[in-house]
């Protein structure tokens, strides 16, 4: 199937710039565009450290790109860019999350700040909560 209508007879055969006439959008094009858009949004949301959004946007972007393939042999160029952007966004997000957790657990000053914030929100510090729940001291404190 030709999702991009490339093999359709030209509507204006005598028009000298016929090849520049925009082709009609197909439903596959909207999936490809959404994949491209969500892929870029995944990177942007990873950079802004929103944690959940890069996972949601990146995952959906890859799904849209794969669904846009239809009966074509290869993915459209924009869909491939969408997948690449999503993977970059997802990897970046995982690195940011792992890096943040590692920094908080290894840096005493950061851990104290985290404990203070936790106490302000939940009324009990994180280490106290851990000790209450598991009966042992928090290993990284």
């Amino acid at each position: 199937m030709d999702n991009n209508n490339m093999n359709q007879p030209n509507q204006y055969p005598d028009f000298p710039y016929a090849q520049n006439i925009p082709v009609k959008k197909t439903p596959a094009d909207s999936l490809i565009s959404m994949s491209y858009l969500f892929g870029i949004c995944a990177i942007l949301s990873a950079v802004t450290m929103t944690i959940y959004f890069p996972f949601i946007l990146g995952g959906i972007s890859i799904i849209f790109a794969l669904l846009s393939k239809g009966m074509e042999k290869n993915l459209a160029k924009k869909a491939k860019i969408g997948i690449a952007c999503s993977i970059v966004g997802l990897v970046l997000n995982v690195c940011i999350v792992v890096g943040s957790v590692y920094t908080v657990l290894t840096n005493e000053e950061m851990f104290n700040q985290f404990n203070t914030m936790y106490e302000q929100i939940y009324g009990e510090s994180f280490t106290d909560m851990y000790e209450d729940a598991y009966g042992t001291e928090f290993p990284f404190s």
Partner: protein, 242 residues
């Protein structure tokens, strides 16, 4: 001559058929799954598995929800048969089987649920015995029974996988005829369907990564592929008979 479509061909066909219809099918799936999720949540709130009676009441309630969800599953089959045959259904068509042959749907769903659950009964009993006695001796037999029961359950589930499509195609058939036809057409094709099911695992991974939002598009794609599988079986059956 083998004229059956491959897994890739069926999936490509499903993707193409769904172009421009995602709004409708996503709405239908969301509607159906939200109702089932609501009922399951209601059951989970009031379930009490701390006693043997509570445990079995919980299983019984889950069984009734499964039975009711059959009406919605058959409705989903109707929506996807419409899509794969080129028609444009409505999201509310998931309720189609509430007014068309609901008695047959309930009998079929009952048969399918019983066929899926019976092989797992020994595992349930051993699991409860293990939980009740708090003894690790029960772990190994429970695992063995779960594996064997799981394999048998998948086998029966594959045999009866086409019942709702057959019901919608042949509304004049009785439940017995439908079950018999489903077993007949699935003979020699169970592994093909199992392979198609397993081939969706990478999509499930993407669905989980996207915090389950992606399943709104994955489930329609999966269901459209299963519907194409059914249509492919019936087309080849007709070719053989001709």
């Amino acid at each position: 001559m083998n004229t059956y479509k491959s897994s890739e061909q069926l999936k490509a066909l499903a993707k193409t058929q769904l172009f421009g219809k995602y709004g409708i099918v996503v709405g239908a799936i969301a509607l159906s799954r939200l109702i089932t999720f609501g009922l399951n949540s209601f059951s989970a709130i009031f379930s009490n598995t701390s006693s043997a009676v509570g445990f079995f009441i919980d299983i019984l309630f889950t069984f009734f929800i499964l039975l009711f969800s059959g009406l919605l599953t058959a409705g989903e089959a109707y929506v996807f048969l419409s899509v794969t045959c080129g028609a444009t259904p409505k999201a509310s068509d998931v309720f189609y089987c509430f007014t068309h042959n609901p008695d047959v749907v309930l009998v079929l769903q009952f048969t399918k649920t019983v066929a899926q659950l019976i092989p797992l009964i020994p595992a349930f009993i051993l699991l409860y015995a293990g939980l009740y006695t708090q003894n690790l001796v029960w772990v190994f037999p429970t695992c063995i029974c779960t594996i064997i029961g799981g394999i048998l359950s998948i086998y029966f589930s594959l045999s009866l996988s086409q019942i709702f499509y057959i019901l919608l195609d042949f509304p004049e058939y009785s439940a017995k005829q439908i079950i018999s036809l489903s077993k007949t057409i699935m003979k020699g094709h169970k592994f093909r369907l199992f392979y198609i099911m397993v081939s969706f695992l990478p999509y499930y991974f993407l669905g989980i990564i996207s915090c389950f939002v992606g399943f709104l598009w994955i489930i329609p794609y999966q269901n459209a592929t299963y519907t194409n599988f059914y249509l492919d079986l019936m087309r080849n059956r007709a070719l053989k008979e001709a």
